[in-house]
């Protein structure tokens, strides 16, 4: 997992990522993992256009990402960004490994409960992430780089 930083953010590639996390991590590559956007050429093109020129960028399906994420990690830090909880779960089901997962940008929606201003989950999503956290993945919440980390299991079991 060296040189890999995993984040889940429903806004996917956006200002917090481009102007916050990427420079903070000094990343040289970003891999967007999204079943939805990997198959949507218009959105995919816009997201790739948004990535700073000096960085390598790709948008892959969870299945392709499970194979490709580990490639070329010696070149520098890679930010692996999931666009949904489902994408992160599918990535693991396809054989991908996530040592530590940063959660941020899970927005309010139908049947979702607010745990933090930037973390909203429904029962199914909470269970999915809890199962992940009970396995091989440490999960913490942190929307932007210069704020404190909040342990996910501690938060939902309050």
């Amino acid at each position: 997992m060296k040189n890999l930083f995993f984040r889940l953010d429903e806004k996917f590639i956006h200002a917090q990522i481009i102007h916050g996390w990427l420079p903070y991590l000094n990343a040289s590559r970003i891999i967007g993992v999204s079943e939805k956007y990997s198959g949507d050429e218009a959105s995919k093109r816009l997201y790739l256009e948004a990535i700073p020129e000096e960085l390598e960028g790709e948008i892959l399906s969870p299945a392709d990402a499970a194979i490709r994420v580990g490639e070329n990690t010696q070149k520098g830090v890679t930010l692996v960004l999931f666009s949904s909880i489902g994408d992160a779960c599918d990535y693991i089901e396809e054989g991908g490994k996530i040592g530590t997962l940063n959660l941020g940008g899970l927005y309010s929606g139908e049947n979702r409960r607010e745990y933090l201003p930037y973390i909203h989950l429904n029962t199914e999503e909470k269970e999915c992430l809890s199962n992940m956290a009970a396995g091989e993945t440490d999960i913490y919440c942190q929307d932007v780089p210069l704020t404190d980390r909040i342990d996910f299991l501690g938060l939902i079991n309050k």
């Binding site: 429903e10 806004k11 956006h14 481009i18 959105s43 816009l46």
Partner: protein
């Protein structure tokens, strides 16, 4: 450059993070007075599913105008992506990123005197000229 009074007064939308749009509006109107045909929209608290509809709602008020200028704060942001997607469906949209006060002051003092293409060039130039280092 085509500069004639009484041309179309192009509407403007600022779509930006936090209170930036409202703050810019407050600053501009404090300098030049009330600006009609001007809407500010924030992306605060809006998830990916709703961000496009929030912009679309503002745009719908001006959709029949020959040109609508949408000012975005950050290239590559969710606001930018929503504007680009809306612009693919509506050819009268002009997207300007890196919104700043000089750019907006140029826009609001010159619209009505320039064709849309010329106005776009004018405001981009004003936005860049506003950046100096000493």
């Amino acid at each position: 450059m085509n500069q004639t009074p009484n041309k179309e007064v192009y509407p403007a939308i600022i779509f930006a993070h936090g209170d930036l749009g409202d703050s810019l509006r407050d600053a501009i109107e404090g300098m030049i007075g009330e600006c009609p045909y001007f809407i500010t929209v924030s992306n605060r608290g809006v998830g990916p599913e709703d961000i496009e509809s929030r912009l679309e709602e503002a745009y719908s008020r001006y959709k029949d105008r020959p040109a609508v200028f949408i000012f975005i704060d950050l290239f590559g942001s969710s606001c930018w992506k929503a504007a680009k997607l809306l612009g693919m469906k509506n050819k009268n949209i002009r997207i300007i990123t890196g919104v700043n006060l000089p750019m907006l002051l140029s826009f609001f003092t010159k619209r009505g005197r320039f064709e849309a293409d010329d106005l776009e060039q004018e405001i981009k130039l004003a936005g860049k000229k506003g950046i100096e280092g000493h």
